[in-house]
Every structure is written in structure tokens, then in C-alpha cells.
Amino acid sequence: MSAISIQQIVKTFPGKHSVVALDHVDLLVESGELFGIIGPDGAGKTTLFRIIATLLLADEGTATLRGMDVVRDYKKIRKVIGYMPGKFSLYQDLTVEENIQFFATLFLTSLEENYDLIKDIYVQLEPFKDRKAGKLSGGMKQKLALCCALIHRPDVLLLDEPTTGVDPVSRKEFWEMLGRLKTSGMTIVVSTPYMDEAVLCDRIALMQTGKILQTDTPQGIIDSYALQLLAIGGDHLYDTLQLLRHFEGTANCFAFGDKLHLSLKDNSYSAASVTAYLEKNGRTDTTVEPIQPGIEDCFMAYL
């Protein structure tokens, strides 16, 4: 049985400028998967999480978690999910230990009972256990929030942008923890705006303006990228970018750090024809080389 199944979910936030946050979303998350929802801010990730977590009612469509309907069986669902909102929402005026104990008792369990599950994370928090949650660093806060979401041994863990605003080292550690949690058989759904984190998931869904663009394994998504991709380096990249956007063989061209990524329309164009075009327009100092696409290139191709 799939862990989460979402069919044709629509959610509109009414108002003067009404926003369609989710536009007929379909999604299937298998049991035991580490599933990533990748998308920029405003894609609708949080809305989707809140609907799955039974905090928000959808306008249309159905969603089930372990076969339980999010509207009808919300009481049962709340017992089996662990939800970590994107915004830090633990009690800042309670200590680390008090927060964990409090959330444990809400689920009628205790820290001791599920210690094995959170041990890895808790040992890192232990030196600060008498510190107030509000006084922790960003990375520590996220670890504490994860602890609290895990304390009742949930079946499905929903993590909404757990690594946003966290330093690269803590992010790496966080993903390592998720990897270890997955081995215990837990289904984990995580959202992130960072494309580099996508490859760490078993499967990912690319999301943009309320729509799911594509769902596959990270490699599957990369493999499905049909176009030739070239990386272009050199000086005056901005001028080069403007120039390349007028090239007849360009499907799309974006700046990626210190390089430009150029996708070609079809196989009648190649690195050589791009070099020729650039030289003809007075750009002799550029480097052009074919590269393998990344998740971000796949994402950009939808824009």
C-alpha cells in the first residue's frame, strides 16, 4: 500500500488577488520512501503538507495517508504522522528537554520509550538540554524540531523545508540523519527549495506554481532530459547570455554560477556551431563544453 496518495487536490486561497496554491495535484508516495518535493518558494509545497497533515482542508480532490482519508479519518492520521513545519514552532521559552518531554506526553509516550529512534540526534542536543529552545542556533533548532516530530515513532514523517536557513554543514548532517531514519522503514516526505538536495531522495516531484511538473527518481529525471546541454564560460557572461538567447539553436539559456547553461533545440546544432556563432559575434574568449544535466537544469527547462 502506498503511504500517501493524492488525487486531483485543488486549494485556492480567496481574496482580492486569489491564489491557486494547488492546481489539480496528483502524487503517490510509496511506503519506506524518502520522497522529495522540490520547488521554489510559492510553489505550494507548504499548502500540500498542511493538507496531508490534516491542518488544512482542500477545496477539491482526495488525499489518503496509509489508506486513511485526511478529512474523515484525521484523528487516526494525527497519531501516525510526525509533522515538522517550515517555521520553527516549538516553545521558545521551554528548554530542549522540556520541549521533547512535552511533545512526548501529547502522544502519551516518553523520551525513554523511543530513545533508540532519536538517539543519534539527541546526543547532539544533550549538551544543551537545559537551554531554552529560543536560544539555540538554527541548526540545533531544526534538530530539536526533528526530535519532537519523531518522539512518538511516527509512521510517516512530513518535513516542510527542514534545511531552509541552515548552514551547509548542518544541512549535510540533517540529510545523513534522514538517511538513517529511512533504514528503520519510516516513510519520509521532505520539501526543499535546494536542488542539490534532490539527488539525496529516492524519488522526487518537481513542483512549480501549484502544479507537479514531473515525478521520478532523480536519475530518471536527469535521464529524461532530452536536450544537449553545454556549459559556456569566459568573461562578460551577461553579454554572452544576451547574445546566446538570440541564437537560432537555443532552447533556453540560464546563468549557473560562473557558467552559462545552454540547451540546444535539436541535434543539428552542436558545441562547434555554438562556438562558431559566438566567434562570428566577436566572442573569442569563451569556452564551450558539453555537460551532463543536473536536477536544476531539468527544472529550468520547464520555465
Binding site: 497519531k79 509533522y83 514552532s89 521559552d93 518531554q101 511533545f103
Partner: protein
């Protein structure tokens, strides 16, 4: 039950860690009870008068002396004319002008009657009105004094005289503190009930912690009780502090039983916690909750009979006053503290407040959503 216990433990941990709340709980009643009853005194004293004496006779002097000798009046000065006296009023140096006409004494003696004019500054309505009537009654007194002097045989008065003596029941010396302190105690409890509780819940909304609570299997009633009980207890603490202060600072010892005060306060606090809870289900930010509370407090206080008598309000306002829970508790407090009323006397107020407690709490619970 165990969950509720932990919710309460957590709530008290947070309350005791918040120095602002501790200060509000202990300092607010102290300051309000020590300052307000002294300031909110309706007794009009120090009415400033300017005298225009056009007569300069011994009678006119005697009249002025009589006025100034009383506790109520302070002589600003004499003026030569009414117009000049008006200047004192305009510059706010005087509240009353007493004008004694020329030939006052002569007319009085010859014609057996004379007129004195009193002009009052009614910008401060109470002071002007009460000052003028004090002055009128003193002049009346003066009149009686002269008549007594004129009558050589005071043994039997040829005219029948009814002397009026009054006695102020339940408040023998007309002490305003006795009247104000119980009322202010009620306002304190009201603030604890509606302000603190609603702001507390809205804070959880604002910070987002309520999401974590909502997503847990905890029941709605557990969450709500977990919020109501701590503030209910704080209400009792504030009431106790207030009663101690009124005992120590004003020597007010309730005529009635403390048990009755606490019983009524228990139900009253429930009603206001219900209002606070209701407010928090509608407000999304602490700012909104603050302003709504503030707006309601103004109405509750001014239309609750703390400062003004409800019986003298227009009829429509009386209707509003009787929808106001504060009205009933102020009434009951004064009855129990001053008159020593028993439960039988306050039964109707008790049932009305109980009804309000049920009404507001049910509304709040129905309106509280664990999801939207």
C-alpha cells in the same frame, strides 16, 4: 487526564518564566487598588468662588464668611463687578460667582427678602452643579440663622419646622473607597480573565506552536482546559491579593462571607475566560487581540456601573448594561462587601453569570478549530 496534567505543567512553566506576566499579576492589582480609589472620588471639594459684593454690609460679610468657613469653598477673591468676576471663571481660577446685590442688607431687613445670584462654571458639570447646590444650601442656612436672630423668643418657633437628618445605610460615612475598591477588584479579575488568556492563546497562534498541538491527537477540550485552568487559578490569586490590599490599605472587611465572593468569582472568571477564548478564536495576532480586548474593556467598565449609576442611564444603555457581565459582579461585590448579602440575595446575578459562562464557553469551543 495525564495529558491535561502535562499541559498544565507546561503552561505554568511558561507563565513563571515570563517576568512580564508575574509583574502584571502582582503589581497591577497593587497599583490599581492603591491609586484609583483615592483618585476616583466624586466628592466635590475645593470649589473656588469669586465674590462680587455690591453691598459691603455686615450681612453680606457674614454670608461670605459662612461660605468660606465651610470645607467646600475656597475664596479666590473679591471682584468689583460681575464682568470682572467672569474673568476669573474664564481663566479657570474660579468655579462659582456669588453676586450680592447692592442694598442687600437693607432690602432684607425692610422687605424681608433679598436675592443673591450664583453663577456656576459648568465645563466641569459635576463640580459646577454640586458647587451651586452646596452654595444654595449654605445660603438657605444663613437665611435660617438670621431669622433665628430676629426672633427674640426662640423657645417656641411660630412656624412649624421639619428638620431633616439623614443616615447613610451600609456606608455610614459615605466613604468612596468602600464603594470603589470592590468595583476595581472586579475590573482586575476581568482583565486577567479576558486579556491574559486571549493573548496567551493568540501568541501560540502567532508563533506557530498551535500547529504542533493541532497536529497531535490531543483533544480539543484538553487543550482548552489546559488554557483555562491556569488563568482561572491566577484570577483567584489576583482576587486574594486584592482582598488583602483592601483590608490592609483601606481596612475594608467584607460584611458578607469570603466564600460567597470566591464562589461568584469562580463563575465570573469562567465567563470571562470564555470571552477571552472566544476572542482568541477570532483574532490572528496579539495586536488584534489586544485592541479588541481594549475596546471591550472600555465598554465593560464604563457601562458596568463602576463610576456611574446604571439606574440613571437612558433605557437603551440600561439594556446594554444588563448584558454586561461586569455589571453583575460589581453589584454582587458591593452587596456582599457593604451589605453582607447572602447567597439568597445574589441568586439572580449568580444564575445570570452562570448562563453567560456557559454561553461564551460553548460559543468559543464551537468556534475553535483544530484545522481550517
Amino acid at each position: 487526564m495525564r495529558v491535561l496534567l502535562f499541559l498544565l505543567v507546561k503552561e505554568f512553566q511558561q507563565i513563571f518564566r515570563n517576568p512580564a506576566i508575574i509583574r502584571i499579576i502582582f503589581i497591577m492589582p497593587a497599583v490599581q487598588l492603591l491609586v484609583l480609589p483615592l483618585a476616583a472620588d466624586y466628592e466635590v471639594k475645593n470649589v473656588y468662588i469669586t465674590v462680587v459684593d455690591n453691598d459691603h454690609s455686615s450681612y453680606s460679610h457674614a454670608l461670605v464668611n459662612k461660605l468660606v468657613a465651610s470645607d467646600y469653598f475656597v475664596l479666590t477673591g473679591y471682584a468689583d463687578s460681575y464682568a470682572q468676576a467672569m474673568l476669573d471663571i474664564e481663566q479657570d481660577r474660579s468655579d462659582l460667582i456669588i453676586e450680592i446685590p447692592g442694598q442687600f442688607e437693607r432690602t432684607l431687613v425692610r422687605e424681608d427678602k433679598a436675592t443673591v445670584s450664583i453663577a456656576a462654571n459648568a465645563v466641569n458639570g459635576a463640580k459646577g452643579g454640586i458647587g451651586a447646590s452646596y452654595a444654595a444650601s449654605l445660603i438657605q442656612d444663613f437665611n435660617t440663622d438670621i431669622r433665628t436672630d430676629w426672633l427674640q423668643l426662640p423657645r417656641y418657633n411660630p412656624y412649624p419646622v421639619i428638620a431633616i437628618t439623614g443616615s447613610n445605610w451600609y456606608n455610614l460615612h459615605m466613604r468612596y473607597d468602600l464603594f470603589m475598591v470592590p468595583g476595581i477588584l472586579v475590573i482586575l479579575l476581568t482583565m486577567v480573565g479576558s486579556f491574559l488568556a486571549s493573548i496567551n492563546i493568540v501568541y501560540e497562534k502567532e508563533v506557530g506552536t498551535i500547529e504542533q498541538i493541532n497536529v497531535s491527537p490531543i483533544r480539543k477540550y484538553q487543550f482548552i482546559l489546559g488554557k483555562l485552568i491556569p488563568f482561572w487559578i491566577i484570577g483567584f490569586v489576583v482576587l486574594t491579593i486584592g482582598l488583602v490590599i483592601s483590608r490592609v490599605a483601606y481596612g475594608i472587611i467584607p460584611e458578607g462571607s469570603f466564600g460567597l465572593i470566591y464562589l461568584f468569582a469562580a463563575v465570573y472568571l469562567l465567563a470571562f475566560l470564555g470571552i477571552g477564548l472566544l476572542l482568541s478564536t477570532y483574532a490572528d495576532t496579539q495586536q488584534q487581540a489586544m485592541f479588541i480586548s481594549f475596546f471591550l474593556m472600555m465598554i465593560f467598565i464604563l457601562m458596568g456601573g463602576l463610576y456611574t449609576s446604571i439606574d440613571s442611564m437612558p433605557e437603551w444603555a440600561q439594556v446594554i448594561a444588563h448584558l454586561n457581565p461586569v455589571t453583575y459582579f460589581i453589584e454582587v461585590m458591593r452587596m456582599v462587601v457593604m451589605k453582607g448579602s447572602t447567597f439568597a440575595d445574589i441568586r439572580s446575578q449568580f444564575f445570570i453569570i452562570s448562563g453567560m459562562a456557559v454561553f461564551f464557553n460553548v460559543w468559543a469551543v464551537l468556534n475553535y478549530r483544530k484545522r481550517n
